[in-house]
Amino acid sequence: MSAPVGGAHRGHAKSAAGFLVDAERAAWHDRSLWFMRQKRDRGTAIAEWESLRLAGSALKAHAMSRLADLLEEFERRATANGVVVHWARDAAEHNAIVLGILHADGVTRVSKSKSMLTEECGLNPFLEARGIEVVDTDLGERIVQLAKEPPSHIVIPAIHWKREEIGALFHRTMGTPAGETSPDALAAAARVHLRDALLNAGAGITGANVIVAETGGVVVCTNEGNADLGMHSAPIHIACVGIEKIVATRDDVGVLLRLLARSGTGQPVTAYTTHVTSPRPDAAMHVVLVDNGRTRRLADEAMRAALHCIRCGACLNTCPVYRRSGGYSYGHVIQGPIGAILAPAVDLDAHRELPFASTLCGSCADVCPVRIDIPAQLLAWRARSAAAGALPSGYSTIFPFLGWVLSRLSRFERAARWARRVQKVIPSSWLSGRWNPWTRPGRTLPVIADETFREWAQREEGRP
């Protein structure tokens, strides 16, 4: 199961149209994300970039092909290191395990660094409903948490927030001076606010960017150091990990870290990168390994490679559709092109529009650090939607008709003649009415040529 995001979802096209009503804001969103794409272009302009991508793709494919063995190896090593390893089949088991650990020690306050897995499992609302206070300590995540919103981007959760709006939010929730919009002042206030949460938490929850079978270690990357403060100041560290995060060796980690930071933000490496293998003396460390549909995805050969995703966010930043529709238009915990191929596996009917929220331009595949062929999977999901009778409205009537017309030359020629005549007799005001999605958002009707290419060629050559 996945946590509902952004309330009742209206489908991508409708939500995107809503996002675009404020044209200036939408243009700002597009520019902000394009800036990230440009940082990625500069950061990845190194001679070995394409061989790094090949290596990343290969080591992930290798890890997925040996997933069960590697997970068991990880469990053996981690246990020997003094870590308690838990297995969760789904989100409910994951949440129950975390709650059990907290209850056993009477913990009521938790700090949490960024983890898309816990978003996927709906951990925050689950714990809060049971009287446990959860403070997200990544600055962007804290902003959306204070605003009672889900993240709109897997790497930059509050990318849709403007500086002035953050100032107003902090004024209301942290008591910063009214009208304060300086990033330095706002970050300083957040630092004080978060430090209190970090130092007084009974447990620190983190995600994991990579886990390593060879060492039994957990690798966590942040730019704010909040994960390190969280795991090292609380008496309990709980790392919540999707099982696809595993790699075989410590050498593999180096490849993925370079790919991750350069693709996500253009940095050579994240500011804080921690490889933690065992608990501190007098402290406890838990790793919760979560399946929640991942083994089902592994068994699905056409869609398997989506498990290689390292959540760098590059495909979101480059996607011309994501940039102009915003994270909430996807109605899923993972947004953008990668979200559009992950969500249908969770619930095809609920996310039937997502594989169509793409022009198949292919930019996502070319920036993907582990070379996931996202357009191929979008296409495969479209075909599955069609087979399951879950096409967006209109598609299931228009296309079979078009297929019928185009399956015989005489039919096509008749249709062309007919369309030409129709356009001449029917008033264009009616043809471009509100009902017509071609003209409604700002396009004129194309004028159908007086002759087809075939007719022209026959006339030119003077023979049939």
Partner: protein, 201 residues
């Protein structure tokens, strides 16, 4: 139809086209998108020898002029400021142009043909390989995003003071022309075949 997932409808049309294509040694398409479909999807989709043959002998127009015809440049004159838009399937599907994602500069057979023409100034775009927003069924299924993408593409062209927008894909042009006309852009949109014909006339 194939790209919209409606494969049963696509099959009848594809069968018809493949049958018609069988007797030819070369098939030239004025569209990177169609060429990409024929070359990369049809053989597996139909699984027939005729489909495999069609995939082998089908070329995008500029690719055909530069490759099988052996004319990487044509002599001609086109004294205008021109912006080039390679459709995404020509760009990233057929690799008929350098891609910014791969740290390559704008290049390829269409680029070479255009820049060789006398008087033609090819203007650099801020986002030279950003999608124009057509995307087949996307143009109507996601009409709002589609039109904003088209407007942004045209704004990029206008910011560089190009009077002509040329593309190798009629479908991108269909969309961009319609967006430009609605917003009153004084821009001449041309297919690369039209431009080459006019330049070499």
């Amino acid at each position: 139809m194939f790209n919209a997932g409606v494969v049963t409808a696509a099959r009848a049309a594809a069968d018809n086209w493949v049958r018609a294509s069988a007797p030819f040694d070369a098939i030239v398409m004025p569209s990177g998108s169609c060429t990409h479909y024929v070359r990369h999807h049809l053989p597996r989709f139909l699984g027939s020898d005729v489909a495999a043959h069609a995939a082998k002998v089908t070329f995008e127009l500029c690719e055909f002029i530069a490759g099988p015809l052996g004319q990487p440049t044509l002599a001609g004159r086109f004294p205008h400021r021109v912006a080039m838009h390679l459709g995404c399937h020509a760009q990233r599907g057929l690799r008929l142009g350098g891609s910014s994602e791969l740290h390559q500069t704008v290049s390829g057979p269409m680029h070479t043909l255009l820049t060789a023409l006398d008087g033609l100034t090819l203007v650099p775009l801020d986002r030279p390989d950003e999608c124009c927003g057509f995307g087949g069924s996307f143009a109507v299924g996601e009409a709002d995003v589609s039109v904003v993408m088209g407007r942004d593409k045209l704004a990029d062209v206008a910011a560089h003071d190009a009077g002509v927008l040329v593309s190798s894909d009629p479908s991108c042009l269909l969309h961009l022309e319609a967006v430009a006309a609605h917003h009153g852009h004084a821009l001449r949109t041309m297919h690369v075949a039209e431009l080459l014909e006019e330049a070499t006339r």
